[in-house]
Amino acid sequence: MAQIVLNEIDKTYPGGMKAVNGLSLEIEDGEFVVLVGPSGCGKTTVLRMIAGLEEITGGTIRIGDRVMNRVAPKDRDIAMVFQNYALYPSMTVRENLAFGLRMRKTPKQEINRRVVDAANILGLAQYLERKPAALSGGQRQRVAMGRAIVREPEVFLMDEPLSNLDAKLRVSMRASLAELHERLNVTTVYVTHDQVEAMTLGDRVCVLRGGVLQQVDTPQNLFDYPVNLFVGGFIGSPSMNIVAAKLVRDDVGTAVMFAEYRLPISEHVVHARPEIEPYFGRDVILGLRPSDFEEASLVDESWARMPVTTHVTEALGGEIHVIFVVDAPPVEHKDVVDLAPEAEEGGAAVPLYEGKSVWTARVDAHSQVRAGDRIELGVDTRNLYFFDPDSGLAIGKKQAAEPRRSRRGTRSADSPGPA
């Protein structure tokens, strides 16, 4: 088992494309770290650099006590699970599991013991003599895991290992992955574009954008205290509603204003976040989590009110997503554009809503909202997010109650933030 230290690593492809830019990260021994970000953010490149499959243009990578920049993949004592599993089609499951050990001249008996152990852990014992083509997707995925496990490496590297499974299987495999990590306690670096996977699996989650590390923190802290608009928009599902707004302080009190709405903010909140102070009378970008809405009749007077016309309702059983239109132009900050790369091709601008913002609110399943209703929503104004309209950085981040710690209680890097 080993600690992994990335120090200012860079990756520049021939032609000048910079895939990773000055990324520094310390991963503790036994920690489960997830790299997450939209496609093209460099997360897989980082993983492949740790594996030694991709050359490092600058910086150093250390695993345990050794600098690994120039060490061949096979000598790094790592195992990797690939998105498409990369099982050797011409070999049986047993041969697939044993291949890495045989290449290392592990004694036959030892190979056999480890293969059988891994097969038992993963429930593959009865499939050992089959070829990968005769297995289901979930079984192939487990063989891929098994191939990593038998190696008993210092580090597991996983590149979107669940994304080829159907939704249901993905959830159950996610649980087994977490359980497996509890059991083996091997340092793991896990790449995904799925923020739900990131939130549920990671001791800590690293959000990347354009090859630059945005924030590293525990899942809850990422959700509660995003450092910028990008992280705020990326983490959370449905994603955060954002709008250009104005912070005001007048006779009536302190409030944030956008479109036809004025949401009062208690002085209490302002007091707890003194960084907001200079922004009164100025433009900000306001972020509202869908989960901070509720139907007005179900909440007390401390929540602000927002009358809206529901556009569409999506009943999910346990909750209802209310989709409504706010008469304010969509935020065109760079952070938002980066969240949806396809928007550049004109895919996101639905002409139906041109010049307006589409918002989502999550309300209780027992609410009686119907599409087209005029309803009143309650907004929990204690949880408003404010971002600087120029830099996109969070304003007046609530102070974390205690030092950020990973779930396992191991020490974590203390100053996350944009590199």
Binding site: L53, K74, Q83, N84, A86, F99, R140, R147, D166
Partner: protein, 299 residues
């Protein structure tokens, strides 16, 4: 969730013939008519070749198209054997073809793998040279090759001289490369992490996956030297070194009136020359299909 990456064993390296064909319609009669006429035009010369080779006396009239019971004989095969020594010329053809096949399979696979999967100094140059070689017809180089091989190295009338210019079939190298390129990159990454060296990756992982391509390439390579006429014709003076194609062509040019049915004798030789290639292709025809060929020559 979109299924982005395909898993390895879904990769279509197996020959697949009837992909995306139009559904059977009531209009298939026109297809059958067109194909039937086409097939007749294509097969008739083969049929006629066999009929002609069995004629006791040459019969070029319409009635000669159907076998005449009184006019059938195997004597022409005996005559051509006496004139050409079929055994020896077939061995020559076999050595020529076998040498090319062996060199192509061994060195061509290595080169194709290197071009597809390995990064080394000079790869770009090697690739461009291969493309150039594919474009410049061999026939245009006969003069300098003749000068080099026959005059400088004295390899006229030798197997080595015959094989050398064809030794590694570039089309086959190109096919190998295409197939190695199509294999998922992760497979190679996984094997490298598992600690296999490149030679092992090639033999244990890559080659078993491209077996169909190997066969396609070998079939295409086979017909080159087996059917080649110009080069062995240039460098063999002694009949004992000539492949069948050359010996037969020479015989055609100097038709012996000593035999009773000269054309029948020539056609008997043609049958002997045609049968191995045709038989091989019919036996392995499922490897000689459009997608394989397409991926080989689509540039």
């Amino acid at each position: 969730m979109t299924q982005t990456g395909r898993t390895v064993d879904e990769v279509a390296v197996a020959p697949d013939d009837v992909t995306s064909v139009e559904p059977r319609t009531s209009h298939s009669w026109w297809r059958l008519t067109v194909l039937g006429i086409g097939a007749l035009v294509f097969v008739f010369p083969f049929y006629y070749m066999i009929i002609g080779s069995l004629q006791k006396n040459q019969n070029t009239s319409l009635s000669g198209v159907v076998p005449q019971p009184g006019n059938i004989t195997l004597r022409n095969y005996g005559e051509i054997n006496a004139a050409l020594n079929l055994g020896k010329t077939l061995i020559n053809s076999g050595v020529f073809t076998g040498g090319v096949l062996l060199a192509t399979v061994v060195f061509g696979v290595l080169a194709g793998y290197a071009l597809a999967q390995l990064r080394f100094r000079g790869r770009g140059l090697l690739f461009v040279s291969m493309l150039l070689l594919l474009m410049v017809p061999f026939q245009l180089l006969i003069i300098p090759l003749y000068v080099l091989i026959v005059r400088y190295y004295g390899l006229g009338d030798s197997y080595l001289g015959m094989i050398a210019p064809f030794a590694i079939n570039s089309t086959a190298v190109f096919i190998f490369r295409q197939y190695f390129l199509q294999l998922p990159k992760e497979l190679f990454d996984a094997a490298r992490i598992d600690g296999a060296n490149e030679f092992r990756i090639l033999t244990r992982i890559a080659l078993p996956l491209v077996r169909p391509a190997l066969l396609t390439a070998m079939l295409l390579t086979f017909i080159g030297p087996w059917n080649e006429y110009l080069w062995p014709f240039l460098i063999t003076k002694q009949q004992s070194m000539q492949p069948l194609a050359v010996a037969l062509a020479n015989y055609m040019n100097t038709v012996q009136s000593t035999v009773s049915n000269p054309f029948g004798t020539i056609l008997a030789g043609a049958v002997v020359l045609a049968v191995p290639a045709v038989a091989l292709f019919l036996a392995f025809q499922r490897y000689f299909v459009a997608p394989n060929i397409g991926s080989a020559v689509k540039g």
